[in-house]
């Protein structure tokens, strides 16, 4: 009896080990492959050249990516933090319960919508109806709606983790709600909020479908909000789809992975510093 169980156990254990190895294996495979084929093609020239008939550098794409990230954060972070503050600090009176339920439902639902649908919405609303055209602005507005749920949720968690005793102490000293939020609650919540922001950056950098349909595919540096501009992800997509240059595609993919890795490391570095 004991031996039979042992056999079954070991078999299952073996399967578990194997499946876990598949996970790591795939990761190593994809990273190695892309880096081996891509790193040789990354040069300073590649990173700093424009992209036109004579050059195939990716500087404009890097610039556009940063531009759209900053623009999206500029919209979504204040809105998201504001919404979270309202949900956590102002939710007592029973008359606002319906509103709060509606907001929570909206946040939940938004976070489940795939990016292609956001892209579709951005295309019809920002690009066409509001006449922004294919532009960084249209892209940033669309992206900010996409990352809003994450920012709201994470900020909410951060605010909730501030102990009530701080709030009581502040009110008892004659502080108003605003002052308490500004001077006590928000400062304590900042590490959590920062993590949310950094993770959102990662998501925006990796986003393709929504940006493709709203910020367009211009190969130049977007000089203003109304210009269209390709981001790194969109560039990789186009290179791969059109089969233009696989060398440059590998290089772009490698650059993308490196940027994401840096963003992730910053986020976890912050997280460990926060634990102090």
């Amino acid at each position: 009896m004991k031996n039979k169980n042992r056999l079954g156990d070991n078999f299952l254990k073996a399967i578990i080990w194997m499946l876990s190895f598949i996970t790591i294996g795939f990761l190593i495979w994809i990273l190695l492959y892309i880096f081996i084929k891509g790193l040789p093609h990354i040069s300073l020239r590649f990173l700093t050249s424009p992209n036109n008939s004579k050059n195939d550098g990716i500087f404009p794409m890097i610039y556009n990516t940063f531009f759209i990230v900053l623009a999206s954060l500029a919209i979504s972070v204040p809105l998201g933090i504001g919404a979270a503050i309202y949900l956590v600090e102002y939710s007592k009176p029973s008359k606002t319960i319906k509103v709060i339920k509606a907001v929570r439902f909206a946040v939940e639902t938004l976070s489940g919508i795939p990016s292609i649908l956001f892209g579709l919405f951005g295309l019809i609303f920002f690009v066409t109806i509001l006449k922004f055209g294919f532009s960084i602005l249209a892209g940033a507005l669309t992206l900010s709606i996409m990352v809003l749920p994450t920012i709201i949720r994470t900020t909410e968690e951060a605010l909730k983790s501030v102990p009530d005793s701080y709030r009581e102490g502040s009110f008892a000293l004659g502080a108003t709600k605003l002052i308490t939020i500004k001077k006590i609650i928000l400062p304590s919540a900042i590490p959590g909020i920062l993590t949310a922001v950094i993770l959102s950056i990662g998501r925006i950098v990796g986003e393709t479908a929504a940006v493709y349909l709203t910020a367009g595919t211009g190969r130049n540096i977007a000089s203003g909000f109304m210009d269209s501009g390709r981001t790194l992800s969109v560039h990789l997509y186009i290179l791969a789809k059109e089969g233009i240059s696989f060398d440059k595609a590998y290089a772009t993919a490698a650059v993308l992975i490196i940027i994401i890795a840096i963003i992730n490391m910053t986020a976890s570095g912050l997280a460990t510093r926060m634990k102090k």
């Binding site: 007592k92 005793s165 701080y166 009581e168 102490g169 008892a172 000293l173 001077k183």
Partner: protein
């Protein structure tokens, strides 16, 4: 229940509650409270858990406003003015400070903790703030222990020191009344005694109302004591009298430890 005003006619009345009733939703927590709290005295509120003493003290600085289903009937007067109708709550809390059971220093430096109150009430001048911080910490008997580490995080000092820091924080806004809700129940005996000494000094300048479940403490530091039971005040007397010859039998039972 009749309240008894002390025969000491030289002290003025600071707080006066008249027919104060309070409900948390359907549950009545305070029943027909009538009490006059005198200036520059230490008034202790004693009674078993859930008797309403904490609820009452939180009414005095309108901290009950923060709870959503509270209903209040009756009057509470500070210097003869109704604290709901005649005061803005921010102003009221500037005059009536509170120290909580568990020390709750803010996650900032010792200096910033004490300076928080004055800053939010408009004082920006550095020198003024420095003076206020020093004065408050001295009045809270904490200055000597922390004067070299004012910029250190307030959470780095001991529990007893943190509580004195909270007291200093309250003193910094120059209140007239200091409310204390079981201020030493989370502290060790030595810190407790230090704070009791502090309370004794503070009553020269401030009116102190202290909730305590420790009757020996009430006996040691207070001038008057009110015994709360099931939301009402059973007896309110000079401390000496209430602990030696209580009028009501329930008071006697509580004091002698028959319940509570």
């Amino acid at each position: 229940m009749m309240n008894k005003i002390a025969n000491d006619a030289t002290n003025n009345v600071k707080f006066s509650a008249k027919q104060l009733n309070l409900w948390y939703g359907d549950v009545q927590a305070l029943k027909d409270i009538n009490i006059d709290i005198e200036e520059n005295e230490v008034t202790a509120l004693i009674g078993p858990s859930g008797c309403g003493k904490s609820t009452f003290i939180k009414t005095l600085n309108r901290m009950n406003d923060l709870i959503s289903n509270v209903v209040i009937k009756g009057e509470v007067l500070l210097d003869g003015f109704n604290i709901y109708k005649d005061f803005d709550v921010v102003d009221l809390r500037k005059r009536v400070g509170m120290v909580f059971q568990k020390p709750n220093p803010f996650p900032m430096s010792i200096y910033d903790n004490v300076a928080y109150g004055p800053r939010i009430h408009g004082i920006k001048d550095k020198k003024q703030l420095n003076d206020i911080v020093e004065k408050s910490l001295k009045n809270a008997a904490l200055w000597n222990e922390v004067k070299d580490r004012l910029k250190h995080n307030a959470l780095s000092i001991s529990g007893g020191q943190q509580q004195r820091l909270c007291i200093a924080r309250v003193l910094a806004i120059e209140p007239e009344v200091v409310l204390m809700d079981e201020p030493t129940s989370a502290l060790d005996p030595i810190s407790t005694l230090k704070i009791e000494d502090l309370i004794h000094e503070l009553k020269e300048k401030y009116t102190i109302v202290i909730v305590t479940h420790n009757m020996q403490q009430a006996g040691r530091i207070s001038d008057k004591t009110a015994f709360f039971l099931h939301g009402s005040i059973v007896e309110y007397e000079d401390t000496e009298k209430i602990f030696s010859v209580p009028t009501d039998s329930r008071t006697e039972d509580y004091i002698t430890g028959r319940f509570g």
